[in-house]
Point group: C2
């Protein structure tokens, strides 16, 4: 599979795929003409990379963790990284939960108080 198809199938840009390779997150064979040739499994790998990015991991961290994600084995230091990053994600989730709770409460308040007319500064709800 060439890079354009991989991009379409995995939902990321061609530029991003080249960037992943630059970061040693992804590698490809080359055709005699120098074009990248990916195996089918690349789609899953790219989606895994995306998922870890979405979790807030950096390229550096991902490149250290990918081997044990694919093999299921790890050295001691890799294992420590795994635990650290898992915990970091947990902390992030708690932060998000708190922020969401705060917005939820604000939304409740606004629903209870009613909406303010655009441009108005007063506190009178816009009744029916």
């Amino acid at each position: 599979m060439r890079i354009g198809e991989l991009a379409r199938r995995s939902g990321v840009s061609v530029r991003a795929l080249r960037y992943y390779e630059e970061q040693s997150l992804l590698d490809a064979d080359r055709t005699p003409g120098g074009q990248r040739d990916y195996p089918d499994g690349a789609v899953d790998r790219v989606q895994l990379i995306q998922q870890l990015y979405a979790a807030g991991l950096s390229s550096r961290t991902i490149v250290e963790l990918l081997p044990c994600v694919s093999t299921g084995t790890a050295t001691q230091s890799m294992f420590d990284r795994l635990l650290t990053e898992r915990d970091r994600i947990g902390v992030r989730m708690d932060e998000l939960a708190q922020a969401k709770a705060k917005l939820d409460r604000v939304i409740e308040q606004v629903l209870a108080a009613g909406l303010t007319r655009d441009g108005a500064t007063g506190s009178a709800p816009v009744g029916s």
Copy 2:
């Protein structure tokens, strides 16, 4: 309260506080000499700002939402923003949950398979 104390009490840098002011997230009185003078409530406000940043909101978004967070009222468009951002946080939480689940599974696998010796490439666990 001057900026240094606010920084210590709210746990952010002096530079960050000036940046918040630049973004219209925070305002301060000035002493005759031109130094910033914050009321006590500023500590809470800064922590709120931090929390919203942590939730992935941008300065622009926060500056639009802060009024209704403090007043409990909103215009229609502000209310829409509230809902949008709350949902966005929900989506982020789901992404994080998925990534965390994946790491949890990897950790389980590694625990089951045992650790690999540093530098080793084989799949044999390091048994006792």
